[in-house]
Amino acid sequence: MNIRFEQVSKQFSNHMAISDLNFTIQDGEFVCLLGPSGCGKTTTLMMLAGLYQPTKGNIYFGDQVINHLEPKDRNIGMVFQSYALYPHMTVRDNIAFPLKQQKVPKKIRYGRAEKTARLVRLENYLDRKPSQLSGGQQQRVALARALVKEPNLLLLDEPMSNLDARLKIEMRDELRQLQKQLKITTIMVTHDQEEAMAMADRIAILDRGEIQQFDTPEQLFAYPKNVFVARFLGNPPMNFLDAEIIHELDGMIVHGEGYHFYLQKQLHIPNKTKITLGIRPHDLQVVSERRGIFSAVVTNIEHLGREKLLSATMGEQPIRFFVSNDQKIKYGDRIYLSPNLEAIHIFSKETGENLLWSREVSYEQVEGKTGLI
């Protein structure tokens, strides 16, 4: 069953939570809605669940408009951030609850509950109350409860934000495998970009009620459509530097405070347009003074094990990059950096749009790559 949003808007009494949302999710796809708090991702999920109704537009499950369909009639499963287990019921009863509502006979529903519990490795905890379980176990109960009725659509609302870091990574894998195994269309809301990158087939990045970009993780990372997407994905985040473009024969010069370099690309923008230069920390290399484009003073060194993350300042502007462990750089050293010119991004200072990877390019690439997964 694929899911389609068509011009969907949601207005609350005093503000617009979602405006003109358009997207399609394919059958069996794992999609993340990613964005900062208040971006409308949870509202979108609530509309899918049927707890909120769109103010405008239509939501389709397959060919059917389901705007006003009651949650119970949608055949969906949902895992909440708080897990929302029923504290007065045992694990068994919690998992069997959706089947009880469908009036499945007791014997059958307990059988299915146990089968689902095995799927999430809970078979030894069936008689416990939720309060006697650890956070990870509670989350599995919630997952089993969502899956037991074999829903057409699985909704996950920040399901892992209450788990500790180690468990989170474990659950990610497990959830992902389960989803692929059951081939169930899944939509997950999260504010954690790493989680989204790790799990999703495609990620929809939302901000202020609008989709900024809806793409595969690779595409989003390599070709962010605007500053917001670029800033949101990647840890540590992309470096941003102010600059302007000066046209040259066959290319242009990117000119900023204390640096300039030549780029063999042409953009259809006026001469001396102010831009934001974006460079991911991994795309910067420490080089000799002669070959360096940026000159900076090291202000902080973080040891990450395999490599080191360095912070430095270029005049006023901070910049971060990685170096290998054998490089002997000390706090306060002046170093010279050179960016990988194939991987830099140029954003319009005014609109934030990516000027280098234009809209058309990135869409074509998407169509080609995603199609059906």
């Binding site: 119970k72 499963g77 949902m78 909440f80 708080s82 897990y83 609850f97 309060s131 650890s134």
Partner: protein
């Protein structure tokens, strides 16, 4: 209630060193509080001692233990020239009143409390406002008109009439209390129930109501005690001895000022207070949180 991870409760702060106060101050505080509380202590001590003694020295020291004061349990007592009805009739009527009141009050306020806490409908704000207003409204000022209403409905001199009036006076408060409990039920849980296939009503009684059980227990105890202790409405609206309750029974014995039989009175009073004492001992902590005024969150 805690649905998240198992949080171990913070250790209770018992050690006075955390709040280092000089011992002198604490001792003085104890002395003052004890001194202030002495009259209370003696009052209830007397109630007990007097009920089992035939005569008291200096008002409070029993001279001789007797159960003669408890004779109302096996015979009908005469006060002055009047014979009072059996205490068991009064007890039964009181039980009927308190029990009936509890059932009515709990059902009505759980329904109204849920609607006000969780549902969206035109006029909701107005209703909420009126619940709080009614909660504060001094209803006894309306007793004369209530008399007229009961008379018109043919409910004067019936326990039913008193039960309904008392329920009406109480429901704003119990609705307000239970609404607070409903407010505290996480939305996620209710949403879950809806997604798992419940409609609003089913989600309400299968999932939400079990979560507000403590609140229901609280208002039950609360309304039972209120019904059990009621005096004014019974005194005003009930005349027939067939409808006598413990409160009016006791009041009839007190009635004649000149010849107070304290032994009989205290025994009957203690008998009347038994359920109250019982509930008090077992539920005082939750009763305290209830604030008796019902304003759970001032």
């Amino acid at each position: 209630m805690d649905i998240g991870s198992n949080v171990t409760p913070a250790p209770k702060m018992k050690s006075p060193t955390l709040l280092r106060k000089s011992h002198r101050k604490i001792i003085i505080s104890y002395i003052i509080l004890t001194f202030l509380s002495l009259p209370l202590f003696f009052m209830y001590l007397w109630l007990f001692l007097s009920s089992i003694s035939s005569e008291m020295v200096a008002g409070i020291i029993p001279k001789q233990i007797t159960f003669e004061n408890w004779r109302f349990l096996w015979e009908n007592v005469e006060v002055g020239s009047r014979q009072l009805p059996s205490i068991w009739l009064a007890t039964w009527n009181t039980l009927l009143l308190a029990g009936g009141l509890t059932i009515i009050e709990v059902i009505i306020s759980v329904m109204a409390g849920y609607a006000l806490s969780r549902m969206e409908f035109p006029g909701r704000t107005f209703f909420l406002r009126s619940v709080i207003l009614l909660h504060a409204f001094p209803s006894v000022a309306l007793l004369i008109a209530v008399f007229y209403v009961l008379d018109t409905l043919g409910l004067i001199d019936t326990l039913w009439g008193v039960m309904l009036v008392k329920a009406a006076l109480q429901i704003p408060m119990s609705t307000y209390i239970i609404k607070g409990f409903f407010d505290d039920v996480p939305w996620d849980v209710e949403w879950s129930a809806l997604i798992d296939g419940c409609n609003r009503i089913k989600a309400w009684y299968q999932v939400v109501i079990p979560l507000v059980k403590p609140g229901i227990a609280a208002i039950s105890i609360f309304s039972f005690l209120a019904g059990w202790s009621e005096f004014l409405l019974l005194y005003t609206f009930i005349f027939d001895d067939q409808n006598i309750t413990l409160a009016t029974y006791l009041q009839k014995i007190i009635g004649d000022f000149q010849m107070v039989d304290y032994g009989l009175l205290t025994a009957a009073g203690l008998f009347y207070m038994l359920p109250v004492i019982f509930f008090f001992i077992f539920t005082q902590k939750s009763l305290m949180q209830m604030n008796m005024g019902g304003n759970k969150r001032v």
